[in-house]
């Protein structure tokens, strides 16, 4: 019998807890496939964050550490600096974790040029706690804590993380992609692979933001969610490469010392 498809070795056999229509599962698979294709699963340590993806430590098929809310980039820094350049260290964080409570850890890991890869899931809402306003919630979007829709006069504006991080010298690669349709998912995988490759070559901080869906808390069907992602979210969060210095890397010189990150 010919095998025409098999699950990636980058994921365990544990059944995920994600809701129908949520694209966490897709992004998990992309990360797992990339780690498998790069042949680094045996020397990878993943950092799970707090939010819907907290149990990612059971899903990725590599050593995992679960970080306090927002602190994943600091935890990843400790792991990477201890294990050295040959290790592969990534965080998997949602918008509340990365862009609200963990803003400082994100910005400073980025500006240090920390040689880690951050996978950033932006679905414009707090999913795990039941659908509250996120730092990336769109103006006019209804959530549990913006019942009359996000009003920028009182709730402020959403934050564009890629555009902000692109200004930092330590960032080698920052791209925003989408999980909204098949071509975009293929682009997302290429971006994730590029980010991990950047890390393996010691070129500096790499981050991929993946626009994602949350039908449960958006209160619409999975197919309507894909539609909403492609129309509304990409208007607020344009797709594209915001920083790419992966050719030269962010550091002036790379040495042969594996502890020089």
């Amino acid at each position: 019998m010919n095998t025409i498809f098999k699950k990636t070795a980058g994921l365990t056999d544990v059944q995920t807890h994600y809701c129908p229509g949520c694209t966490h599962g897709i992004v998990h698979r992309l990360v797992g496939e990339v780690l498998e294709e790069l042949g680094v699963l045996d020397r990878t340590v993943g950092i799970a964050s707090v939010g819907c993806s907290v149990m990612a430590y059971e899903y990725f098929n590599c050593d995992m550490v679960q970080a306090p809310h927002g602190r994943a980039p600091a935890v990843a820094t400790g792991v990477k600096r201890t294990l050295g350049r040959d290790s592969v260290v990534f965080t998997y964080q949602g918008d509340g974790d990365l862009a609200a409570i963990g803003t400082a850890e994100t910005v400073h890991a980025a500006t240090r040029g920390e040689n880690i890869t951050v996978i950033f899931i932006n679905n414009a809402i707090y999913g795990m706690t039941g659908g509250q306003m996120a730092p990336t919630t769109l103006p006019g979007q209804v959530t549990q804590t913006t019942p009359n829709a996000r009003n920028v006069l009182t709730d402020g504006f959403p934050i564009r993380v890629m555009e902000m991080l692109a200004t930092l010298d330590g960032v080698a690669y920052a791209e925003r992609v989408s999980s909204g349709d098949i071509p975009d998912i293929q682009k997302a995988k290429r971006a994730i692979k590029k980010a991990f490759t950047c890390q393996m070559e010691g070129k500096g901080f790499s981050i991929v933001e993946v626009l994602s869906t949350c039908p449960t808390n958006w209160g619409i069907s999975p197919s309507e969610s894909m539609e909403w992602l492609q129309t509304h979210m990409t208007r607020q969060y344009p797709l594209g490469v915001f920083k790419d210095v992966t050719e030269t890397g962010v550091f002036p010189v790379l040495t042969d010392n594996p502890m020089d990150l």
């Binding site: 020397r43 050593d63 995992m64 550490v65 306090p68 600091a74 400790g78 600096r81 400073h108």
Partner: protein
């Protein structure tokens, strides 16, 4: 090694390097910054990691990551910074990650002052973060004792997978005294293996997962109970104290750290006046040496602290009503003067019930 003259904070840093620590993460705050400054000079020479974090919050989480990856990792801070670290310490405890956390205390609450204090005793021994857990707390009272206790703390932390803390104060951190380091520093490569660490599975074993989330209550309870079994084992192994002239003492002063040095001189002065005074000095604050303290049959006890009275509660637990337990303390960065304490001792020698104000 031959004794050399060094500052307490720098001795702590050098002792950590000699003990095989190769990951230090910190954030500047007075009066402990000499530890970070020393590490920034010496850690690279030792082939280790020195990193100035963006906050104490980040620093403790870098320690979490380095410890999870099997490193002998540490951080140091002072009181307001320690408050910021308590979230990470709770996670570290819940994930059973060994490490060393140093608090060189200053006066509080709030931003407080930068003079020495012992006002974080409750925080260190009772509430170092949310949830049911302890850390081992060491309270050296001399520069040499810092050097002696650091390797012990790292070893016990590794052995039990329980974090260790040094509770010092600004006075001990800033003072210079002669210190002799061990002749043979530890080889970080020769420390006991950590098969649980997240270092990459090497394609040879099941994934190592370090995690403190347990949504099923019976599972979480079982994990806490297992950890408390280890705490019981620690209590059997670790109970450090110094008893000075307590054999026939009718008044026993109880003090740790810097105040123990003051109390010791008061004991000697009181003895010259014919007052039978002694000093009981806990070296470990958790586990607290309740049992040896409870064996002393003095007519009264006097806890001396640089706080409004925190450790005095542990003295009362140990004495358990068998004799009056009194308190004398200064706070806000003020250090008790020997003559102030001696006045209290003289009064208690006349009336052990100590009628009048305890402060």
């Amino acid at each position: 090694m031959e004794p050399i003259l060094m500052k307490g904070n720098e001795v702590l840093a050098q002792a950590a390097i000699f003990a095989g620590c190769r990951q230090y993460f910190g954030y500047p705050i007075t009066p402990q910054t000499e530890i970070a400054a020393y590490m920034s000079r010496q850690m690279p020479k030792a082939g280790g990691v020195y990193l100035q974090a963006e906050s104490e919050v980040a620093a403790i989480n870098m320690v979490l990551g380095a410890g999870a990856a099997g490193g002998r990792a540490m951080t140091s801070t002072s009181s307001p910074g320690l408050s910021l670290m308590t979230e990470g310490i709770s996670y570290i405890a819940g994930m059973d990650i060994p490490c060393l956390i140093v608090n060189v205390q200053r006066g509080g609450p709030g931003l407080g002052g930068i003079q020495p204090s012992q006002a974080d005793y409750w925080q260190a021994t009772r509430a170092l973060g949310h949830g049911d857990f302890h850390v081992m707390v060491f309270a050296p009272s001399s520069v040499q004792e810092i050097a002696d206790l650091v390797p012990r703390a790292f070893d016990l932390a590794d052995q039990y997978r329980v974090p260790a803390m040094f509770l010092m104060d600004g006075s001990l951190g800033q003072m210079m005294e002669p210190v002799a380091f061990p002749d043979k520093p530890a080889d970080p490569g020769a420390l006991p293996e950590k098969p649980w660490a997240a270092v990459g599975n090497g394609g040879k074993r099941p994934n190592n997962i370090l995690n403190s989330l347990m949504l099923k209550a019976p599972v979480l309870e079982a994990s806490v109970l297992e950890r408390f079994d280890r705490y019981e084992a620690i209590k059997q192994e670790l109970c450090e104290y110094e008893a000075y002239r307590t054999g026939d003492a009718q008044i026993v002063l109880v003090a740790y750290g810097t105040t123990a040095r003051i109390a010791k001189s008061v004991v000697d002065e009181a003895r010259k006046e014919g007052i039978k005074a002694g000093l009981f000095r806990p070296v470990t604050l958790w586990p607290y040496p309740y049992e040896p303290l409870s064996r002393l049959s003095a007519r009264c006890f006097l806890a001396v602290e640089m706080s409004m009275g925190q450790m005095v509660e542990d003295v009362r637990l140990a004495v358990n009503g068998r004799a009056p337990v009194h308190f004398y303390g200064r706070t806000g960065g003020m250090i008790p003067r020997p003559n102030e304490v001696l006045e209290r001792v003289r009064a208690l020698a006349k009336d052990p019930s100590g009628k009048g104000a305890d402060r």
